[in-house]
């Protein structure tokens, strides 16, 4: 049995991944979803996880720095930022000009301090010199999924979220979204790490699954869920 | 004129007791309710006050209907202009003695009656005391003062003087009677004390097991010694000079009884044939 800590927004891609993996290896794999930051705190304090699949690059890096990983973490996929509104009369545009409009009262972003999609959104707003103008409209979600709740329930008129949210699962087809120019923000790279705990557990299978995360079959699944893989 | 007829089943664990009382009380009268423990005296007061609803019957006070089961009318206790002295006092622990009494007054009423009542009940020195720091008798006096402060037209007293010492009791009985007369109150008193009832009341209503027995004058009701100059008492002790010390109610008499063969605890009847009366106080 393996226990894998998974960033909340990756859990559905991960379920499919596990299903795929189980076609050749029947080992039971428990998925523990959570915010990447919280999972990191927990790993540092003794959580029994074999593998950590983060939504960013920094948390696994931090764990590696503190010697909680068996080897340096590796990037497995890259997230894409979209601008999304669930209101039928709002049509998001790539130039972001509409954010200045009077009909846009609140713009949801993920917390730039802790969530990579949040810092990417902040970066792009600054780059377009819009940040100061819209700063008072910004409402912050704790995670990318909470941010998406704000948008999906139309409490926020519009907001920045991950492509994986709008192309798969429950929010698919709701409202309008547009993919932002990937060159306008630093890549949202997501890494995974093989954790030291695996050594006491089932290191062979853990490594097998860890390697599977970087296989071609896995890449196809990431693509399907809205990530790009280099 | 109070015209009442009250029926209620009192739920008691060993069965139910039917309370059933019909009586007419003249306005301005002082009426005592007398009966054994559990006879329903407190319950009747509570129905008069409006705290408890009778199952059927009516209460008419002068021309006003306070309660009528047929017309489904029930006047709230607030509207009844009553004063109530509770058996457990029911003083307000959050207020001191003076505030408990003033609470009965409306905002703009003059406060001097409070000072007056503190005086009358001997509570002036205790005016700023918290209720919990008072002795039992002191609490009872506060309860009495509070019930009177509103100058109610009907005063309901549930054993208001039971915890009070004799001297104070005499004095408060006098006060009660004074107040009863001064404000032309109709007063209904629950008491176990014959002396108190005789002194204070115009009529006695006798209850037995929830039922009305009779309504009569206290003199007739307690008038067992009425026919002749007879006293009954108990021999407490016999002294060496041939005297018997006899307890008659609250007092002791020394009777010369040379030669008789009385013993301690004998119950005796004394018949007087010759006596002189001297006026002590007019």
């Amino acid at each position: 049995k393996l226990t894998v800590a998974v960033a909340a927004n990756m859990q559905y891609a991960m379920q499919e991944l596990v299903a795929e993996f189980n076609k050749t290896d029947k080992t039971r794999i428990d998925i523990v979803p959570g915010a990447s930051g919280k999972l990191t705190q927990q790993i540092q304090n003794g959580a029994p996880f074999d593998i950590f699949i983060s939504a960013d690059k920094e948390y696994p890096q931090k764990l590696a720095g503190n010697k909680f990983t068996l080897e340096p973490p590796k990037v497995y996929a890259q997230g894409l930022l979209v601008l999304w509104s669930a209101k039928p009369n709002i049509q998001p545009s790539r130039d972001l000009k509409l954010l200045l409009g009077a009909n846009i009262k609140s713009i949801a972003i993920a917390n730039p301090k802790t969530a990579p999609y949040g810092s990417a959104a902040e970066f792009i707003l600054k780059k377009y010199a819009l940040y100061d103008k819209v700063a008072s409209k910004l409402v912050t979600g704790e995670s990318i999924s909470q941010t998406s709740q704000f948008i999906g329930t139309r409490n926020a008129d519009i907001g920045f979220t991950a492509k994986s949210i709008v192309i798969a699962g429950a929010m698919k087809g709701r409202g309008n979204w547009v993919e932002l120019n990937a060159a306008d923000y630093p890549p949202i790279e997501q890494s995974a790490a093989l954790l030291k705990f695996a050594r006491q557990n089932n290191i062979t299978t853990a490594r097998k699954f860890y390697n599977f995360l970087y296989s071609a079959k896995a890449k196809a699944i990431y693509n399907k869920f809205g990530y790009i893989v280099k | 004129m109070i015209d009442l007829s009250l029926q209620k089943v009192l739920h008691t664990a060993e069965g139910e007791m039917q309370l059933d009382v019909t009586a007419k009380i003249e306005s301005g009268q002082f009426v005592s309710l007398y009966g054994a423990s559990g006879a329903g005296k407190t319950s009747i007061l509570r129905m008069l006050a409006g705290f408890m609803k009778p199952d059927s019957g009516f209460i008419k006070v002068n021309d006003a209907v306070w309660f009528d089961s047929r017309r489904k009318s029930h006047l709230e206790p607030q509207q009844r202009k009553i004063g109530f002295v509770f058996q457990d006092y029911a003083l307000f622990p959050n207020m001191n003695v003076r505030d408990n009494i003033s609470f009965a007054l409306d905002k703009h009423e003059p406060r001097q009656i409070v000072t007056e009542l503190l005086e009358v009940t001997g509570l002036s020195n205790l005016a700023t005391r918290k209720i919990q720091t008072l002795s039992g008798g002191q609490q009872q006096r506060v309860a009495l003062a509070r019930a009177i402060a509103k100058k109610p037209s009907m005063l309901l007293l549930d054993e208001p003087l039971s915890a009070i010492d004799n001297v104070m009791r005499d004095q408060l009985q006098y006060t009660l009677l004074e107040i009863h007369k001064r404000y032309a109150l109709t007063t209904i008193l629950v008491s176990h004390n014959a002396n108190e009832i005789i002194k204070l009341s115009d009529t006695v209503i006798h209850l037995e097991q929830g039922s009305f027995r009779e309504q009569t004058s206290p003199a007739r009701f307690f008038g067992n010694g009425n026919e002749a100059s007879k006293l009954t008492g108990n021999v407490i002790s016999l002294d060496e000079k041939g005297n018997a010390i006899v307890l008659i109610d609250d007092r002791l008499l020394t009777l010369p009884v040379p030669g008789t063969i009385l013993n301690n605890n004998d119950r005796i009847e004394i018949t007087y044939s010759n006596f002189q009366i001297q006026l002590l106080q007019h």
């Binding site: 917390n111 704790e142 926020a156 | -």
Partner: protein
């Protein structure tokens, strides 16, 4: 430097919530204490319901309720031009709903423990039910009122899930101390988190100490 605005906001939210709940809960508890019918028992059970759900989930349902996509939210927006999410008012309403049981329960149990003759004595003195409540009943259940106030206040200070969900973490508007601490912990800024938590604990501790000392004095006056 530490940003103090989350602390002020927390204080404002907690005080307002406590005050509003105090005002709401007294008549509610009094009504609940008064009778015996099944309807009142049901209401009493409903009052406790907010406790049972995780705060973030209550927050989520409130998010749905307040949403302009739904009847209630769009009614608010169209007719009153109010948007409750991401506003202090919204937070306040949510806190009030969420903390309701903490105020109602202690007051209710205080009222039920009073001797019924206190109430009757006040009625017989011609006082209305309201006067009886405010001048006789409430002053005599001070320990219960205190319990209600302390639980509500402290609970609102520490409340987090609901606030996070419908507040939107807007600095100076909906970013309360609990959220700030949470953020700092999440960002591994332990020092800042510790400072916030320390201030919160110290201030609350002092407030409670003062309240309890006062209450103890009151009770001592009772028995010396």
């Amino acid at each position: 430097m530490i940003d103090l605005s989350p602390l002020w906001l927390t204080l404002k939210l907690s005080l307002s919530t406590t005050l509003i709940l105090f005002v709401i809960s007294i008549p509610l508890a009094n009504w609940l204490a008064g009778g015996k019918d099944i309807f009142k028992i049901i209401v009493q059970a409903i009052v406790s319901m907010p406790l049972v759900l995780p705060p973030t989930v209550i927050g989520f349902y409130l998010l749905l309720a307040f949403s302009p996509a739904n009847a209630f939210g769009s009614w608010l927006e169209e007719w009153l031009n109010i948007r409750l999410v991401f506003s202090f008012t919204g937070l306040l309403i949510a806190s009030v709903i969420y903390s309701l049981p903490f105020m109602v329960h202690p007051i209710l149990s205080g009222l039920s423990s009073l001797s019924p003759s206190l109430k009757e004595a006040s009625w017989s003195l011609g006082k209305t039910k309201w006067q009886t409540l405010t001048k006789v009943l409430l002053p005599n259940i001070k320990p219960s009122l205190l319990t209600g106030i302390v639980l509500t206040f402290a609970h609102t200070v520490g409340e987090f899930g609901v606030v996070l969900m419908i507040g939107g973490n807007m600095p100076g508007k909906t970013r309360t101390a609990s959220i700030a601490i949470y953020d700092e912990v999440d960002a591994f800024h332990y020092h800042t988190a510790n400072v916030y938590a320390g201030i919160l604990l110290a201030v609350s501790f002092i407030i409670l100490l003062v309240l309890y000392t006062y209450n103890r004095k009151m009770q001592q006056a009772k028995f010396y």
